[in-house]
Symmetry: C2
Subunit: 255 residues, 2 copies
DNA sequence: AGCGAAACTTGATGAAGGTCAAGGCCGAGC
DNA sequence: GCTCGGCCTTGACCTTCATCAAGTTTCGCT
């Protein structure tokens, strides 16, 4: 039982940005073939899509906003297993049957498509481009889970936080003259649950990083990183993160 | 840098048992269609199949013996990400491009099939049973990775060790009059690298579990658990493990 | 049988991070 | 503009586990 209630976060500033910043989905056109087969879900902030462990194998496609894949272990220990951005997929059979399994939206204006897995994988379309894309995306999600396990298991608190910031910068950041700006879609509590730390500890670590100039606030819920290379140096898996995410940032900066 | 060199372990007793105990592979017949397309690899104990991050997407099928999927983080921090038993699959694209990624056999007499992914997924056979099986198996591996991340992130040392023992009991154990016997294919160091603990700590925890009667040695490399329910009670994810692994043990005991 | 190396055990000590507690900041709504 | 509640910060203290060190046990080999 958490001693303090920490459950909400403002999103006013985030709304507009996320639209423009995250509107472009990789492989947009291929996924769009699924739209007629899918149930489109509009989400509000903190809205939870519960996932029962006995439900049919189902595919979720994140279209807009961030979604958190979460589950809990016995005794109120909630964990965030994955942070999903637009274009990411979530297959229920690829997650363990833990209590409290759910997808939670961090934004108002989020959009998720839900498709029954058999329909998506062998539906009427029988489209080999779609099949390959799904297979590749699911493999990528698995790779991220494995990396996350390695990060949580093998890195110190500071390194974990640096990894999270570096990953978000690479996945969703925008390079500008001043550095890289990205949205931090989740609260300290969420970060703690994702990195298997404690919210107080996360706060301390972030404060230290701020003091060292590694990151700076750029409006509520947004981070500015003036020197992404310095941030990457704090993070032992930087090379791996770069390899996994199209390194548009780095090249954009160099160009 | 580990202060002590700890790199070998005897397998004399293990050899014979693993043949009989693990000879039966789930979905044997469907996978066998891949044999003509695969490179069959016979392994020796501690043999390492290195996996370069730039290699083509490749599928490995474990046929006999245990294999450990490992990778390292910067600075000699090796981690075991997954323990594979016969019937399990490993797709390189579903693992992050970390340095030192490899599959290591724990047994002499291991056997692994290697197939290029495009061949396996859309090869000449174009077999929908095989396709579905592969897809399901890969999802299962991903689910195990996610569960492992949750265990490492959310449980105490004792709970993690209990979870590992419980999982191995469910996955590979044999019920008998005295309880459940299963092979412990990995050393203290390996356990530590899998659970993100320290080998000394693992030793202490196992000693404590032995003292409490939760487990007992049953010959080198084999464990006897007289009361599997008691072991499961130590482990907060027991219900999840049961759901993920055909609970033949429990039913066999009850029957 | 005996040696050497790997593997395991166990104690002493310290550091990283969790827990508890108190307060500060800021946006939403009146 | 004020107040309420969610969220964040920071300090003091304590637990868990890593590290270091010194054994003991097991097994392969001659």
């Amino acid at each position: 039982m958490g001693p303090h209630a920490r459950t909400r976060r403002t999103a006013a500033a985030a709304k507009e940005h996320s639209g423009s910043q995250l509107g472009l989905i990789r492989n947009q056109s291929i996924f769009e073939k699924l739209e007629p087969l899918a149930v489109v879900i509009r989400t509000r902030r903190r809205q939870k899509l519960a996932i029962a462990s006995d439900q049919e194998d189902t595919l979720y496609l994140v279209r807009r906003g961030f979604m958190l894949a979460q589950a809990s272990l016995a005794g109120n220990r909630t964990q965030i297993l994955s942070i999903l951005t637009p274009g990411d997929v979530y297959r229920t059979a690829a997650m363990p049957p833990l209590a409290g399994t759910a997808l939670t939206s961090t934004n108002d204006q989020g959009e998720v498509w839900r498709v029954r897995w058999p329909v998506a994988s062998e539906g009427p379309s029988r489209d080999s481009a779609l099949e390959n894309l799904l297979s590749r995306q699911l493999a990528e999600q698995a790779a991220r889970l494995a990396l996350h396990a390695a990060i949580v298991g093998g890195l110190t608190g500071e390194e974990r936080v640096a990894s999270l910031y570096a990953e978000l910068a690479l996945r969703t950041g925008k390079a500008s003259h001043a550095g890289v700006t990205f949205e931090m879609p989740i609260s300290r509590v969420d970060i703690a649950e994702y990195l298997s730390l404690n919210a107080d500890t996360v706060s301390r670590i972030v404060s230290r990083m701020r003091a060292r100039g590694l990151i700076a606030e750029a409006g509520r819920g947004f981070i500015l990183c003036r020197d992404i290379e310095a941030l990457m140096r704090e993070c032992p898996v930087a090379r791996t993160l770069e390899a996994m995410h199209p390194a548009k940032l780095i090249t954009a900066q160099v160009a």
